[in-house]
Symmetry: C2
Subunit: 328 residues, 2 copies
Amino acid sequence: MKIVVDAMGGDHAPQAVVAGVIEALKEFDVHIVLVGVQEQVEAELARYSYDKTRVEIAHAPEVVGMEEHATVAIRKKRASSISVGIDILKELCGDAFISAGNTGAVVAASSFILGMLKGVERPAIGLVIPTLQKFSFLIDVGANTNPKPEHLLHSALMARVYVREVLGVANPSVGLLNIGEEATKGGDFVKDIHKLMEERVTNFIGNVEANEVFTGRCDCIICDGFVGNVVIKVSEGLMESAGALLRREIKKSPLAMTGAVLMKSRLEHIKKYADYTEYGGAPLLGVNGIVMISHGRSSPKAIKNAIRATIREVDHNIIAAMASELSK
Amino acid sequence: MKIVVDAMGGDHAPQAVVAGVIEALKEFDVHIVLVGVQEQVEAELARYSYDKTRVEIAHAPEVVGMEEHATVAIRKKRASSISVGIDILKELCGDAFISAGNTGAVVAASSFILGMLKGVERPAIGLVIPTLQKFSFLIDVGANTNPKPEHLLHSALMARVYVREVLGVANPSVGLLNIGEEATKGGDFVKDIHKLMEERVTNFIGNVEANEVFTGRCDCIICDGFVGNVVIKVSEGLMESAGALLRREIKKSPLAMTGAVLMKSRLEHIKKYADYTEYGGAPLLGVNGIVMISHGRSSPKAIKNAIRATIREVDHNIIAAMASELSK
């Protein structure tokens, strides 16, 4: 199995990416293609000892910046690590592509180069989120902000396959993120989606409200890319603000500081539990190939775990499984 | 000043509502009209000693349930506490109306009975949210889930007036909730709103991402009712899940339990800080009268604080101030 990794993607590239790849080589039986500016990647690799027969470098002289306009960058920089990496996938010289780079650019290049699965019009980004019970899979967290109802139906069908094959849930339940439980709730758009899902999605449990996203009540939570992006960002921001507030309050009292020290190991356990880097990246579904988007701030551990997630996708032949589900 | 209060609204009505009114009578120079089933309200009032010249009861034999279909309920139950209460406002026999009842019914009855402010087509619900720095005002959190871009413009104009007059911020900044900072981000809908706001809203600072909702970066955060409802519900749910996870982890370790005890007073301080009941209710803006929607789970304190908030609205003549802003 050969995983193609964008060496230049993310805020800490290429250091964090190469470090993550080195970790992955130790843990998984996998070959890696690192795509990026050859001398930079070589210099970084030179800091480690590893099995050189399992790593190759694909030179890509251009880099897409994290803040660049996605479609413009992809059009102009055909020799970027993102485009070159996805080309390798397209030519069947790799089984999956991982990038912590510009999300919009990865989405655009994947759609353009790999094309879409039959019956799918637009890609969607899924995200495994930790909940009180287990995990839930939230989709779309930002690929498609102007969807038609059918696009969310396709997300639901693909999500069920992903959760079944990659997360190992036998018959995943599917909920539609809405602002009330009743089928009549929400604007015209979600009402249309509700109707479609009722007709077409197995184990559809109806509307799920946003206060249930983290309870683990359902396996797949479906929403448009705007709403999904708001959900993950407001959650990120709230945890950061709550943490800052907690630290501010604790500092006001020596007693509370002592208390915090005593709680430390448990707090760290929670931190680890809630840490997105434990689950790797966010799969881009709907394109005709396995593409994983990692957080721009990805640590080596996040990259390693993203590699693990793609290995599961390859092992379970996720693309064929989704294509089959979509053609039903 | 006379505040009209729906005695039958909320999960703990009429007990919690009447208890809150009794508290308010002690703290504020105000008269209260309690609207509800006369004998139930009288029975509840009989448990307290208070200045009887400052409280009257308006009999409303019908009650709208929390889960009833809003518009149907309002059409069928013309003698509900919600409709009767808003009628009193309409007849100028009261200065503001507060209800912890069925939100949709309050929105529908207010719009129907009071009508809209000139130039406004749809109402919006605002919410004062605690942030790291101070407060921010999020609008709309659920009144209008099928808005046109103009509706969000009107929300922005009204929000600025509310935050200036009621929260005392001199020149409130306004941000548009979006999934990126650049003006080109988001779907067509938010792009249209961005353009409108740029032209018409004073101190418009552009897009604000959802991870900044709780940082206090801007005073007024504008979004559609679907997205705003998701923001508050996902925040509520996340804090509940994080709390449950924390308790679960702490119970695993006697050391951590001791730590939690030492931190107790600081944790309670945070809880109080983040407690929505401290800020009363959520003002319904756009209708031609002062209407405040309280949380269905409102405690007596929440009701008392909602009364305080409406007193400020009346004192600052918020309706005239918004009408003037909208006519510019």
